[in-house]
Subunit: 319 residues, 2 copies
């Protein structure tokens, strides 16, 4: 199905122009009409143009009449723009059918749009890293993207990690770890929200952080040491955000380096620690994050979650 | 003047035992009675003992009857303990004359104590990095520590950085930069608070973040890229914290690495960006942070600030 895809750069400057081109060519080869924003390759310091340039690009994307507005890449830059984004314009464009897709730094935009308007955006690939990679783009990501385009991506299922070993359990102050493998439950009509843990947490306490009660919060991150992941989760915990959710769904946390000082402290330690502190179920291994194989997720959509032991299924139905 | 100094470990495990010993010997050589907490050298994963051990160590420090409770080192670990700290006990000990001294991860404790009790703690050295370093400990740090011990450290003066170059100014979207070098002003009786930017910001939105209006907020950080420093400052900005202060005082931000992708984006860019967004004065170069030459600062104390062009002076009088 031919779609009109608008490429723009709200965050970091595009440095890998080959990936940018490959991404465009691949989308074109799939029959799509690809429109590239006039400032998509702008560069000012580390940003894709100065603040006014990137802000205008976002608003051009909203006005483009395209089916999809896809970011060229993440990086850093959206947080700066949040007070000046015209949220009503964004919301109107979304209700007319525009699907905003992106991740990482884009979480700032998605979270703010949700807080300000409740409109749905998609957590998914960026052009460069998603479609522009050397070799073949990931099949699952592409299939999920196509499903979104056709309105057929109505959910996603995955298998959680096994519980961490008893050795880890002992290591945490002797607290007992409930056997969550056997947990089965069903959650209905919960708002799915989340994205990059660092970017999301950096909005806590600001007008761009939505007050979601009874939601399903999904989180991923890249190049953050587990102790930093724990500190951010602790902030969300102490702020009461986690306990207000019906489920916390952890995606992929990648590219960090443990050190000799850690002596066994690792990501599983953090998950276990968190589970001891809240009754809200904490799921693992959602195929989403800074990895090739990732699903697309509708941020702000009402979603059902079924969990049967390690198997989990998110269903949002027809959007 | 001989003082009783209690050494304990609320955060990371002490790995550099030589520095630990040297620090104790130096304090003893200055005539002080040094008491070492029973768990000061405990180690569990990356922590100085499990959560219960570190929590008990904090409470033993409060009960020690010492003049000063000095952390062995920073690291990570206090954030986890905040809900279980007995704040009344801490506050009572402080009012009886105990001076809690520390920095970095210790900012979590200091900020929470301020939020929960209003009691004053000292931002200053840790044992290992401060007194235990190879060679001679920094003279200014030692003099400030002695002044605190004797109740004679009644203020600190320093010289701010020159304004960044006009080149930087142009780089920021053409906005004009007010000539702050010539600014002179005086602020009276403002609560001094702050510490490590990352640790402080990680408490925003939680019950451990104090609601200080008309204060003087000082900040430092280590190994955080300027774009991350900006993102944290932005969070404090959007949350309304910065504009509620009478001054923001930036200390030393050290040990980060710029990359080719930054193309001129640097710490000065962040300072300039911030100054364009708030009317609150933003001062620079406070001699405090992850550096040897650092002053001691009373977190929670009423403080006067005089600024005359680049010269700044904080005065808290007799505490």
């Amino acid at each position: 199905m031919k779609k009109h895809i608008y490429i723009y750069s709200p965050s970091g400057a595009v440095r890998d122009k080959a990936a940018f081109k490959r991404g465009i060519q691949r989308l074109q080869a799939q029959g799509h009409e690809v429109e590239v924003d006039e400032a998509a390759l702008a560069s000012q310091q580390r940003f894709a143009g100065d603040d006014a340039t990137r802000l205008a690009a976002i608003h051009r994307a909203a006005d483009s009449g395209a089916d999809v507005a896809l970011i060229s890449r993440g990086g850093y830059g959206l947080t700066r723009l949040l007070p000046d984004i015209r949220y009503k314009k964004i919301s109107k464009a979304i209700h007319k059918g525009l699907q905003f897709v992106g991740m990482s730094d884009f979480t700032a935009f998605q979270t703010a749009v949700l807080a300000k308007t409740g409109a749905i955006t998609w957590a998914g690939p960026a052009l460069g890293e998603g479609f522009g990679m050397e070799g073949t783009p990931d099949e699952i990501m592409e299939a999920c993207f196509d499903d979104m385009l056709c309105g057929q991506g109505e959910g996603t299922g995955w298998r959680q990690l096994r519980q961490s070993s008893s050795e880890d359990t002992k290591a945490i102050a002797g607290n007992s770890d409930p056997i969550r493998d056997s947990d089965s439950f069903f959650i209905k009509d919960a708002v799915l929200w989340g994205g990059n843990l660092t970017v999301l947490t950096a909005l806590l306490g600001t007008p761009y952080f939505p007050d979601i009660k009874g939601g399903i919060l999904f989180l991923e991150d890249v190049a953050e040491h587990p102790y930093r992941i724990e500190r951010m989760l602790t902030q969300l915990l102490y702020a009461g955000v986690l306990k207000r959710q019906k489920a916390i769904v952890l995606g992929q946390f990648t590219d960090f380096k443990l050190t000799p000082h850690d002596r066994g402290f690792k990501l599983a330690t953090v998950v276990q620690w968190l589970r001891q502190r809240i009754a809200t179920p904490v799921l693992t291994n959602l195929p989403y994050g800074h990895v090739q194989t990732k699903v697309l997720l509708p941020v702000g959509a009402k979603t059902d979650l079924s969990v049967d032991s390690r198997d989990a299924l998110l269903v949002w139905g027809h959007l």
